[in-house]
Symmetry: C3
Subunit: 443 residues, 3 copies
């Protein structure tokens, strides 16, 4: 086993018993007590329930981001969130799924569907030996693709033009995400190397974060955010109730995100494992929130609600790479460290003048890396080197390709609204529609 | 098979393979691999999960409508939405269920329950041969009744009096909906004719839309909406964040609405079919939203968020009549056309001076008709003639009866608040309670 | 059978047939048709689905309370709701679960987890004979503990200091709730006496209400609430849309709260019973809302939306003690009476100058007692005396211990912000962060 730091050694010890139990394994005859048909129905149900919970996360991102932007940009942010989810559905069907699972089974896009007699299971023709319905699998996988796109929109808020954003979403959901995800979940080289990312701390969250980071760099900060005197101009979110609602929605959806990533609930062991995942996911979120309470109280002297929300989300992202093997205590440590990291990365980004409106980079990119790199502490079948290779491969690919796409969009159609439009707010300048027209705005 | 238009021919071609597969049918022995008890539990679970998702749609309508009315009418709109849901529960139990399923099984209202030993399954006495618990069926069916009522409240917002609205809701949920729904789902004449409306594009959505249309005509437009110079006075919604949240809630709930309308998930084939329905439902919604993005960009030069929300909902309504047989591509076409139709019907209604505050008529009535009439394009067991008969029968019945009820209410107690009350806003004039009392209102 | 009042006699008659059916019992062989593995998976699924629905109730409380406080206290209220949920997770794991289920199985806290090889089911090692996974049980139970804490935060809003509130939450979720809940659900003396509280009208809701009441008394009313002239100063909630959303969320979550408290869905009978519970839960909520509509119309001459919301919630609380045995009609009566009671208790509390900002005491404490005491009317296996003993025992324990804790906190660190801070609002004074900074506030 690899060398470990002291904290990691503790975590490994804590994780020892489930790993040992895993070695002992469950008797094979237990699983046989459930017929193939019943297994198929249970697994399909898991994907459908998990899928609708992850679909609900799209609403969570929409509310979180609508709450964290200023009121003059809310309509635009809402529009981006619902349209990116719609685009993800179409692009993942048209191109993405086939890129992600090459050769496994043909999920033809529009061309294929017209000329080929293959697709998701035809009406009334499920195949028990598949283990689950292809439709439920497609539904569940699609929601992960959409989540990756949701992460990007918050960072670039309040200054990006609508159509370049939509075009980037087309490329991200149709090509970038499916390619990098195929490296692991499509049976690609990372999977063969032994990289481990249970539900996608890196494949989904850090990937979304890298795409956001590339966009933020190409796009630049909001006007007036970083003042000439070196100080930062606070631009507080307009509706913390929506931001909190969004966080609760994401927390709820994450049970589907991580829980259904077990991919099976048709045996006693799988059902017990899905339960472990639910518990660990909840504990990591709790710990992330509590860590942010403590850190902001100690460092700033006042508890910061938006940091607490981001702390909970960072806890969730952190546990996503491995929600199964940790003990509850290990989950608390992993989530708590993730939440604390997010609190410290927010001001660091500001020092680097990278303007991330909602904190998606600390939460999804940085906590995603943390969650992925710490997997070997609780899962002995993984190694820090392989985890690092996975993070670097995916990070480099997503960041570079995203940077190129954003740069091309910038050079051709432009990706940023005019300074006047930005000061007026995108709701008036880009969409001609205010989110809260009846209320008198400050200033 | 019936004659088809070119588009419809394409759709029919696309749909050919699942239909073929359906003909081949699944081997009967596959279903037998699941015991009657397990089938019962799975089916019951489907109804319960589907039911709570459709219940959640009531919150979606509440948020959508609260977001699309002006701030001075928000409390009233919220009240109408929660009270209509409560009334639907009681009326559907008291009268509706027995009207809708005559003779099938006795679900006695208050009188019956006191004097008769029959009702939903007694405690600890489920019957495996029923295929699902009667309580779960009642729960699921009730939610469809409530949805029909939810559709009406948005159209009539900002001017209808509270009590006449509640009385209409009593009649709609206790009598009108159960009668027309019994024609199909209660084994009535439409069902015998071969009319096909899987989850209720017409039975629920167009029916709600017809009731709303009748109310809008009897009630008249809001003061000042249609100006003497022929131009329309925009009256923008007060909170687009809530409207977007409501749309996401409805999108989520629709997986239960359509998915659980398969009525069974206790076999491999049913599980695969429910999955198809989830996928197609999501795709139609995505396409409806994208269609609205494109249409509003091209026609108005600016993307209109409320149209995009309505586009997604119109896509959902469109696929509801047949979410199972279409291929994904056909679902995208059906939903996309539905979304585009909604965009064009909104200004048409305004030209006819029918004042539909939230766009429920374009979304639920018009897209509902579209979805129902297009069923034969993907489901060869249906015909355009029968579909048209179903739409006309239900439309005529619901419209005429609703028109009569609204007219009686108008002649007796009056259905419209005074002009002064309307200008002040219903929250102050009718309820004496503002939704956002702390915030300074524009004008 | 015990003596009954006339209303109760009617209820008992109505409930007669399910009770009779219960006596007849279902044939044992029916249950045997489902293998132990499949039962385990179904039961685990019930806990997981029920658990995530109850988790969602935390968001419901957050929205309800954020909507019912004034805008200057919204950030603080949101923070308290998300942090109490996080704290509940950690404390229930660390101490609570072991206190609540002593000797049944060891769920070690941090110390135990490090030194002991026991905890929730290890990875891949579920035990079919357990009937459900220990992780799913822990997840579900945890959510009840968190709900108890959620109830307290609303009552004490707008004046309590942050840290004392968090410390009380630590004690409530780690010690107070687990101890009183163990008396019934941990197999303690109330359980042995035959006390019956299906999903916790008293164990969760009245307990939370008693803790809130103790806090309200020690804390005192908001400045200016009760004027020297004996009149009450209205302090209306700032966002009724959020309050309504919160109520819908709670209504939805309650299907998990009551439905999954059946603790089993692996047989036809259990599935039918869970369905009964869903129906009855919905009906009690509907009746509670309708009762509040009628009562406020008759008593105040105007319908009061916040009373209708509380009426629905009181209906839900009322049915929670026994959602299984009542007929639908009995559920309507139980919920309707609960909703009416809440309407009358609100002004009574004001007369007693107990300042309950969101109405948690009428809804959770008083309706909780009503629901618990009425159980024998529909469940012949219970008695009014035992029910009363249960209520008094739990009420006395929770109230006294809470009163002592609040008093100690008051004497040491102080539990109330300064008058100036209260007038300014806690968002600025305690957290330095407004919830709606872009909007101009009235006054």
């Amino acid at each position: 086993m690899q060398k470990t730091l002291p904290l990691i050694a503790t975590l490994a010890t804590l994780a020892a018993y489930p790993a040992a139990a895993q070695d002992a394994a469950a008797p094979a005859e237990a699983a046989a007590a459930v017929s193939a048909d019943v297994v198929y129905i249970f697994n399909t149900l898991l994907f459908l329930i998990g899928g609708f919970l992850v679909m609900w996360m799209a609403a969570g991102f929409a509310m979180l981001e609508a709450g964290l932007v200023r009121s003059k940009n809310v309509t635009t942010q809402l529009f981006k969130n619902i349209s990116l989810f719609a685009i993800a559905g179409i692009m993942y069907w048209l191109i993405g799924y086939n890129l992600m699972y090459p050769g496994e089974w043909t999920m033809p896009g529009v061309i294929g569907e017209i000329f080929s007699p293959k697709g998701i299971d035809p009406v009334g023709a499920g195949v028990a030996d598949d283990g689950y319905s292809s439709g439920s699998d497609f539904f569940f996988q699609l929601m992960f693709c959409a989540t990756t796109a949701s992460i990007v929109s918050g960072t670039l808020a309040e200054r990006v033009k609508l159509w370049p954003f939509l075009i980037f979403t087309v490329v991200l959901t149709g090509v970038i995400y499916p390619i990098e995800a195929s490296w692991q979940w499509g049976g690609g080289f990372l999977s063969e190397m032994g990289f481990s990312d249970f539900a996608g701390s890196t494949l989904v969250h850090a990937a979304g974060g890298f795409a956001a980071l590339a966009g933020a760099i190409v796009l630049g900060a909001r006007h007036g955010k970083y003042r000439p005197d070196g100080r930062m101009q606070p631009m507080p979110g307009s509706n913390l109730a929506l931001a909190t609602l969004g966080t609760f929605i994401l927390w709820l959806g994450w049970f589907g995100f991580n829980g259904a990533s077990q991919l099976a609930i048709g045996s006693v062991n799988d059902a017990a494992d899905v339960s472990r995942i639910f518990v660990n996911t909840n504990m990591a979120a709790s710990a992330g929130a509590v860590a942010a309470v403590i850190v902001t109280q100690l460092v700033y002297g006042k508890i910061d609600l938006t940091m607490v929300l981001n702390g909970a989300l960072a806890g969730l992202v952190s546990i996503t790479a491995e929600p199964l093997t940790p003990t509850i205590f290990a989950s608390i440590l992993i989530g708590g460290v993730g939440g604390a990291i997010a609190c410290f990365v927010v001001p660091m980004l500001d020092k680097m003048k990278i303007d991330d409106v909602v904190g998606a980079i600390p939460v999804h990119l940085v906590a995603g890396i943390w969650g992925t790199i710490i997997v070997p502490a609780t899962n002995p079948d993984t190694s820090f080197v392989t985890q690092a290779i996975g993070i670097v491969s995916i990070g480099a690919f997503v960041f570079v390709v995203s940077f190129i796409i954003w740069s091309i969009l910038k050079a051709t159609m432009g990706i940023r609204v005019s300074k006047e439009a930005e000061i007026t707010g995108l709701d008036i300048s880009e969409m001609g529609m205010e989110a809260y027209p009846d209320f008198v705005q400050a200033k």
